[in-house]
């Protein structure tokens, strides 16, 4: 009995320390501040007043840069990343979630380091860490939406990019239906189609990071084949991984956070219509 009590006390102390931790909230194991369907509805309300953005580039070849899991806090790698985006002339940049810890001051710090939107168009998706400490409200205040599309128009063709909210480990029924409707109506009008979201669809390495439920993955895998999605780009797992399933390449990015030993970001180069990707180290 004494041993059981000691073990129970140890578990309690761990839970207490997690509660007090600046990175986690123990309540999140049971429930988040809001459900994904609520966030999706709020994203759609914002989208209704802010039409999707079309980026027009002068040349057929262009690049999109993406990073995930910067977990600001500190901004050393983030600043290097932005500088390299600008110097390379990226058409746009996508933050694939967990770019903050969810604290308001970290959102403010991240936002203060962002380049001018006219110099470097940026698109943000919420990750699970961005939702901690009631972070969605601040995310929405700064970025408005986490479920949306944007396009890049070249002289030759237009590519479709879709950003999805999976911060709570599920896209939710409303967002999945929206995605399916969008692809059904719009996919044929575009050359390439790339999805960005935070959570990884497949478990392609041993990891404790969470994927959507199997029932949701089946549905999303079906959507990827049916609508000929070229690439799905995610973060979350902090370790790069690439796997091809059907005609879709699933890319998991490294974490960009400063404490990562080998932080990288993703360069997505569209050359003569072909999608090429490259992980670039932050030196």
């Amino acid at each position: 009995m004494e041993i059981i009590m000691k073990k129970a006390g140890f578990v309690f102390m761990i839970m207490l320390s997690l509660t007090a931790c600046e990175k986690f909230e123990i309540r999140g194991f049971v429930t988040a501040y809001e459900q994904v369907n609520e966030r999706f509805d709020q994203s759609m309300d914002w989208n209704a007043e802010h039409p999707y953005r079309e980026i027009v580039v002068d040349e057929d070849d262009y690049s999109i840069f993406s990073m995930g899991d910067s977990h600001v806090g500190s901004t050393r790698n983030l600043d290097i990343f932005f500088n390299e985006c600008i110097s390379a002339g990226a058409a746009a940049v996508v933050f694939a979630g967990d770019f903050t810890t969810g604290h308001t001051e970290d959102y403010d710090l991240f936002y203060s380091h962002l380049p001018d939107h006219e110099v470097l168009p940026y698109f943000a998706i919420v990750g699970n860490h961005d939702l901690y400490f009631d972070g969605w409200k601040k995310f929405q205040q700064l970025f408005g939406t986490s479920s949306y599309m944007f396009t890049v128009k070249t002289p030759a063709a237009t590519d479709l990019f879709i950003c999805l909210d999976s911060g709570s480990g599920t896209l939710g029924s409303a967002q999945i239906q929206w995605l399916k409707n969008l692809l059904k109506e719009e996919r044929q009008a575009y050359r390439n189609c790339i999805l960005f979201t935070h959570n990884n669809l497949f478990r392609i390495r041993r990891t404790f990071s969470t994927n959507p439920f199997v029932e949701e993955i089946r549905e999303l895998a079906d959507v990827c084949v049916r609508y000929e999605i070229d690439m799905v780009i995610t973060g979350h797992d902090h370790q790069r991984n690439v796997v091809t399933f059907g005609n879709t390449v699933h890319v998991t990015m490294d974490a960009l956070e400063d404490i990562n030993k080998d932080p990288t970001y993703l360069k997505l180069n569209i050359n003569q219509g072909q999608l090429l990707y490259q992980f670039s180290s932050v030196q």
Partner: protein, 243 residues
């Protein structure tokens, strides 16, 4: 094979089956699920049929699942096969289960799982622990339709399979109730990071027939520490024991 050898083999198997019938048990089970999961606004209703043949230390189960309403365009959404064998090591009895599960989700995506589990049963507790591998694959018709030449299948890394069940009354009591946490169901194997919780109750209404009911809750993103409800369903069914 020589005709005489074949004849003796058939006689041997027949005798073995007749002998085993005296000690064998057959369980037939059917249940219906009703609920909702967070990939569709449509409600979910499924029915399943299971049969278990148990002979001494050996057991074999198989079953099928039909989706009556739900997100899958297919009606047959699950096939299940399980073999079990009782083992005792140093006075510690347990069963080893091998599982094969096929989920023909749509005309495009199918999934199969294989797994190996140790099953320990105590009067009030059931523990299951093992490992499994999952493969998603694109059907041949879909490969042709969508011009998929190379990678039509995807293996996920091995996955821990688990179940912990506590029941209020000891095993075999005329009625019972309990709670489980698991990533396993008959026709679903979740990732280890997506546990499901169920509460259940059963009542042995007559010698061969037991009715049971279960309530299941699925929480997405628990290990994201940003949990959302993924879904719930209620199950009710009966088990008919033929001896």
């Amino acid at each position: 094979m020589h005709t005489y050898s074949l004849k003796y083999l058939l006689i041997f198997i027949t005798v073995l089956l007749l002998r085993s019938y005296a000690v064998a048990q057959v369980h037939l089970s059917t249940y219906i699920d009703g609920g909702k999961i967070n990939i569709s606004d449509e409600g979910l209703m499924k029915t399943s049929f299971l049969a278990t043949y148990r002979m001494n230390k050996l057991s074999i189960s198989s079953g099928g699942q039909l989706e009556l309403t739900g997100p899958s365009p297919n009606t047959l959404t699950g096939l299940y096969l399980k073999g079990g064998y009782g083992v005792t090591i140093k006075n510690f009895p347990f069963e080893v289960h091998g599982i094969f599960l096929l989920n023909p989700y749509s005309e495009i995506i199918h999934e199969w799982n294989i797994g190996l589990l140790a099953n320990v049963e105590k009067p009030h507790f059931t523990w299951k622990l093992g490992a499994g591998v999952r493969k998603y694959y694109i059907t041949g018709d879909a490969q042709d339709e969508y011009d998929i030449n190379d990678v039509s299948g995807l293996y996920e890394k091995w996955n821990v399979l688990y179940e912990a069940t506590y029941t209020l009354k000891p095993r075999g009591h005329i009625w019972n109730t309990g709670i489980s946490i698991t990533n396993l169901d008959y026709f679903l194997i979740n990732q280890e990071t997506n546990p499901m919780v169920n509460i259940h109750g059963s009542w042995n209404i007559s010698t061969p027939i037991t009715i049971y009911a279960e309530g299941w809750y699925k929480s997405a993103g628990t290990f994201n520490i940003s949990a959302n409800s993924f879904g719930y369903f209620f199950r009710t069914g009966l088990i008919w024991k033929l001896s």
